[in-house]
């Protein structure tokens, strides 16, 4: 498809035009964090660093009201009815300025919530009405490892529009018909030779990343080290068992359901859950199969690098964005743990 060039100063009018029809979620600074917020202009938008939060919240919000309920009148048999109202999301959205890893995260979500086997009505309603505009990475961070998990700094999979950065603007390419419609709203000029230059720059970025990690033995070795609790205790010792890695992760998709409100009225809420929390597997009996953080961190690694690939044609449930490394208060580095599994030998 045709490549066009959008000046940095024209991002603002472009977002304004898109925002007339859709909610545009773009990264903005709040404190020292960069978070996705609904924007009706491009003035505060931050497009040069990896956002602190991931774009998953736009299609899978931290809190989703599944239904609301009120207590009904009494029935003849003495029972009390409940009236429920479904609350399906509506409205169109744009994710503006994710990185290729964030777009990949959404593809990992699709395998779970919206595919031939399963259609989660709430997820699908958002996902099918959301277009993704991705910025290629010219300079991957030292904590980035997308090249180890099947991605790349210029990977266009899962994106409707790719933006390839240059100093004064972006070469833009629409990859879907939805992307073309959005791109038509941007003040632009033909990209000409800039297209080749910008794409080459993004294409070369992978060379700055070092060689991909060898994950060839991880699934086999994981089975071997699964019951070696000392191994997992060693690697989880400094972990605080908080939820930062999970909540900032573009691919962690687990949720919890609680009824919030009173006996008279309230809502059924779906909220993000995280497998690093004790409550995640606490059973009503009082038993907890993952009572120690070592077991919980083992699960986090296992889910991403073993269980998910077994279910989904060998694809990993990690997009290599490195958020779990940079945001961890203890600087736990998932790459080191996966490497230790790969190199595991039982004595």
């Amino acid at each position: 498809m045709n490549n066009i060039f959008i000046l940095r100063k024209d991002i603002d009018p472009w977002i304004k035009r898109m925002a007339e029809e859709r909610t545009v979620f773009a990264p903005v600074h709040e404190g020292d964090a960069v978070v996705y917020r609904a924007c009706d202009s491009g003035l505060r938008v931050e497009l040069d660093t990896m956002p602190t939060t991931s774009p998953k919240e736009i299609v899978f919000p931290q809190n989703e009201t599944l239904l609301t309920y009120t207590r009904g009148s009494g029935n003849e048999d003495g029972s009390v009815g409940v009236e429920t109202t479904e609350t399906l999301p509506s409205g169109k959205a744009v994710i503006f300025g994710t990185r290729p890893c964030g777009a990949r995260g959404l593809l990992i979500f699709d395998q779970v919530y919206n595919n031939e086997r399963i259609r989660d009505a709430y997820y699908a309603a958002r996902r099918e009405n959301t277009l993704t505009i991705t910025i290629a990475c010219n300079r991957p961070r030292p904590t980035c490892f997308c090249n180890s998990v099947g991605g790349a700094p210029d990977d266009s999979k899962g994106s409707d529009i790719m933006l390839y950065p240059l100093d004064d603007g972006f070469v833009a390419e629409a990859l879907t018909s939805g992307g073309e419609e959005l791109l038509a709203l941007a003040p632009s000029s033909p990209a000409g030779e800039k297209a080749v230059k910008a794409k080459a720059k993004a294409g070369q970025a992978i060379e700055t990343m070092g060689s991909p990690m060898d994950l060839s033995e991880v699934r086999k070795k994981f089975d071997l080290c699964f019951t070696d609790l000392a191994f997992w205790e060693k690697h989880s010792g400094k972990c605080l068992s908080c939820g930062i890695c999970t909540y900032l992760c573009p691919t962690c998709y687990c949720f919890n359901i609680t009824d919030e409100g009173s006996e008279e009225k309230g809502k059924r809420l779906r909220s993000w859950d995280n497998c690093m929390s004790f409550n995640f597997t606490a059973e009503a009996s009082g038993h907890n199969p993952r009572s120690a953080k070592a077991m919980r961190l083992r699960n986090r690694i296992g889910h991403k690098f073993v269980y998910y690939p077994e279910l989904h044609e060998d694809r990993l449930a990690c997009c290599g964005c490195g958020r779990c490394i940079t945001a961890c208060p203890s600087s736990v580095d998932i790459r080191n743990i996966v490497k230790a599994v790969q190199e595991y030998s039982h004595e």
Binding site: V35, T52, N63, G237, C242, S271, T326
Partner: protein, 317 residues
């Protein structure tokens, strides 16, 4: 022998009688230290001491009860150890404390606000009262006071206040700069302004509970009121008001116990200024009970004791 080598020597000598010693090693770049759990003499080689050693390792101690543990502490970390001891949450005889005099630690949040993203850091070194760092190919030379953790600006106890081994010289406590504290400045705002401020901050909270889990005094761990289902005290909805509710429960539970280590604020991935809430609770408890947490191992918590007449509380008729 410099401080680090002295410390390594102390640890190597003590290690045979211990299950492990907790310290720090370099993390994924020169601005990030990561906790190091030393079990062998070779592990000790990786130890670092310096302005990136931000984590309070005291947070791990209650969960290691029953083992013989060594822990390296800065002044502020040592107050957490004292407080845990005073609450009978640790056995002193199973604990070996390696103290040193701390020169202050870096706040990545303040550094980010000065320099922008910190992704491409080449080197970072503290030279006297400056931090010299090479970032994005450029040399930056910053006054340490501009980028240190806020707690270090007013640190009155840079030296471990409890220790079995102390490496290197004692550091001189800071004389707090004249002028208003962050809390005093904040409290000059009107009530609606303060409430609007917190609403905006709390909107960002993702309820990851890193503030709780990095807190050495948050010892409920797996049984926190915030995630209790039965009774269902706190809504799981991560809205500004519910998040604020959780944060206020957290701060109330720490009243008279908070040792002002600042770990909650440092751990927060969303840069929410939780230290302000802690500072307020400390101000109130110290005014009411003339007490400061984490200084006296024999002290009884003000909220765990009862006096017919409190010295500092004027009784109603």
């Amino acid at each position: 022998m410099n401080v680090l080598e002295t410390m390594k020597k102390c640890i190597r000598e003590a290690l045979p009688d211990l299950d492990m010693v907790m310290g720090w090693e370099q993390g994924f770049d020169t601005l990030h230290a990561t906790p190091l759990f030393m079990e062998t003499a070779e592990d000790v080689d990786r130890l670092i001491l310096g302005p990136t050693c931000v984590q309070s390792l005291a947070v791990h101690l209650p969960s290691l009860k029953g083992k013989k543990i060594g822990v390296v502490v800065k002044g502020c970390d040592s107050r957490a150890v004292v407080q845990l001891l005073s609450e009978n949450l640790l056995n002193r005889e199973n604990l070996v404390i390696f103290g040193f005099g701390c020169d202050g630690v870096v706040s990545l949040s303040r550094l980010k606000k000065k320099l922008g993203a910190l992704d491409f850091i080449e080197s970072a070194e503290k030279k006297d009262d400056r931090l010299c760092i090479e970032i994005n190919g450029e040399q930056q030379d910053l006054p340490f006071d501009d980028i240190c953790a806020p707690k270090c600006l007013t640190c009155s106890r840079p030296n471990a206040i409890i220790s079995d081994h102390f490496a290197g010289p004692q550091r001189t406590p800071r004389i707090p700069a004249k002028g208003k504290t962050a809390l005093e400045k904040f409290e000059e705002k009107s009530l609606p302004e303060r409430f609007d401020f917190w609403k905006a901050q709390m909107q960002r909270c993702v309820r990851c509970y890193a503030c709780r889990d990095s807190c050495p005094m948050c010892v409920c761990r797996d049984h926190c009121v915030a995630v209790s289902r039965n009774p269902h005290f706190v809504s799981q909805e991560a809205t500004a008001s519910e998040n604020f509710m959780f944060q206020l429960i957290h701060v109330m539970h720490l009243a008279g116990r908070c040792v002002s280590c600042g770990e909650c604020e440092r751990a927060c991935p969303m840069d929410i200024p939780l230290g302000l809430l802690r500072a307020k609770s400390t101000e109130v408890t110290s005014a009411l009970f003339n007490q400061e947490a984490g200084l006296d191992q024999e002290a009884v918590l003000p909220l765990l004791s009862f006096n017919i007449e409190e010295e500092t509380i004027e009784e109603h008729d």
